[in-house]
């Protein structure tokens, strides 16, 4: 109790008209949060002989670490594989979510609540609980160590279904009704009326799913144990317990983050809103 009193006393100071403390708190937090990312890129651009330098600005700039990374790893191939994986997963989840969301938003049918629960409940089943049977099935299908093996089990996500259902419930019924009176079937209505009108929402959700898929670690680590065919796993080859080659390691890490961070630079608001409204998986 006393601690909460003390805390609220401190807090109240900030709620003045000119929120100096607020700016200070956010600025400190911002610097703390961004520093490791800055340090990652700063190290990656240092000349190899300056790697251990603690000067805040890398100078002279050097691309040597990137050159080494490209020699050691097939960065182009890894980037391509990672992109194929993330795009495949995002598109799959978008499509299954679109179809299921359409069913939930446009019809009343028996078992609707129960079936919705079937989708939502998957949120409670962590990968680690289902990994052994799934690994065995992928092995039977002969897709271990392939990108397909990573994509297949991830083609449907509760997140996609839940968010698209919400978007479609806000969709004006008159438009659906008009399309029906036009004699269009539900399939044609979905693609000619619903999808074009939901384009911004679909794009925002697609980016969210892409970012999630790009940063997914557990499943690729399991399925691609031998081939290490995506960037995050390739990066691990620099991470021994002894004798790390920090420069190329930071260069590779920088490239593994770059596509998502670039997207973030352009679409900060959409990405932040997407995560804050939907939560994390």
């Amino acid at each position: 109790m006393t601690t909460s009193r003390a805390m609220t006393a401190v807090l109240s100071v900030g709620e003045t008209r000119r929120p100096v403390l607020g700016h200070a708190a956010l600025a400190v937090l911002g610097v703390v949060c961004i520093f490791p990312i800055y340090w990652l890129y700063a190290t990656s651009f240092r000349a190899p002989e300056d790697i251990y330098s603690l000067s805040p600005f890398p100078w002279p700039l050097s691309g040597a670490n990137y050159a080494t990374a490209f020699q050691v790893l097939d960065i182009g191939g890894l980037l391509l594989n990672t992109t194929v994986m993330a795009v495949g997963i995002a598109l799959g989840q978008l499509l299954t979510g679109l179809l299921a969301g359409y069913a939930f938003a446009a019809w009343e049918f028996r078992g609707k609540q129960l079936l919705y629960l079937v989708f939502v409940a998957t949120w409670l089943v962590p990968f680690q609980v289902t990994m052994i049977p799934n690994y065995a099935l992928l092995s039977q299908l002969g897709v271990l160590n392939t990108i397909a093996g990573v994509v297949l089990p991830s083609l449907c996500s509760a997140l996609g279904v839940i968010l698209l259902r919400q978007h479609m419930q806000g969709f004006p019924t008159e438009l659906l009704e008009a399309a029906r009176l036009d004699g269009r079937g539900s399939w044609a209505t979905l693609w000619t009326v619903v999808v074009p009108n939901l384009r911004p929402a679909l794009a925002a959700l697609g980016i969210l799913l892409f970012v999630n898929a790009w940063n997914e670690y557990f499943w690729p680590a399991l399925v691609l144990q031998r081939s290490n065919a995506v960037l995050q796993l390739g990066l691990r080859s620099f991470m021994g317990s002894e004798g790390n080659d920090w420069g190329p390691m930071m260069a590779t890490a920088g490239m593994a983050c770059l596509p998502v961070l670039l997207l973030y630079l352009v679409l900060q608001k959409q990405i932040v809103n997407g995560f804050v409204r939907s939560g994390l998986k």
Binding site: T130, Q140, N215, K269
Partner: protein, 313 residues
Amino acid sequence: MLATLAPHEAPPIVDATAVRSPRPRRVGALVPYLYLLPGLALLAVWVYRPLTQTFQISFVSWNLLPTSPARPVGLANYERLFTLPDFGSALGRTAVLILGLLPFTIVVPVVVGLLARRVRGRAATVYQGLVFAPLLVAPVAGAAVWQWLLDPRSGAVNQILGTTVNWLQEPGPAQLAIIVITGWHVLGFAVLVVAAGLAGITDDYAEAAALDGATRGQITRWITLPMLSPTLVFLLLMTVLLAAQWSFPLIDTLTHGGPAGATTNVYYLLWDYGFHSFDAGLGAAAGVIFFLGFGVIAGGLVWLSEKVSIHDN
């Protein structure tokens, strides 16, 4: 008490859905099921089938090789699990991890959120952009840069602090490092969730209370925080359910559960049983226990969140 004055509007963590209106009904009765089919089929194959199989495997002894037969052993895996010291200690370490993350997912975000309530405009966007960025860093890339920062000889952390701690090779520091790195990843997200929650609280009650002579401290304690409670329960739920998942990539790349098992939490233990010891039965039994345990905890927290919402109404 002032709290009774405060009708509550839940913060928009999830889109408020539009009021449902009647939909066309006379389409063939099977049609909606056909649209659900792809998603349901995928979930059946990749979530519910393996979940049932995990239950089955938890009663057999099997080394994961397709050629070797699985031998039924009844409850032996569960008995073994509860007698092994690993299990209890992994649970304990998961609790430590969750408690250690609460400052990052609740305490700091609430303090900063309250301090920064009146920070608006372009400055706010810039701060947001900075604090949120770590969430978007690929986990292995985050692990890589922290391994570099924490390097005992030349890492920035030891040099700045003037210490010589071997962060990832000693049990205590390694646990702390995993908590801090995980916290760094999710802190900005939590800050923005709290900010969104605070933005959803109307100023009317605070103003009314201020007119009645309430101090700022009283307003924060008895109006703002209670109205924020659904957001806080949401963050608590995420922390409890996902802490072990968030830290998994870091543990797998930085410490491999060590040193001496000091960073082995429940999910890392499952991974270890399944794919290092190749003891599928034991791994499955542990998976079943964790799944049920977390299910109960999640149910409890959802119940709690409904209770706080009603209480504030």
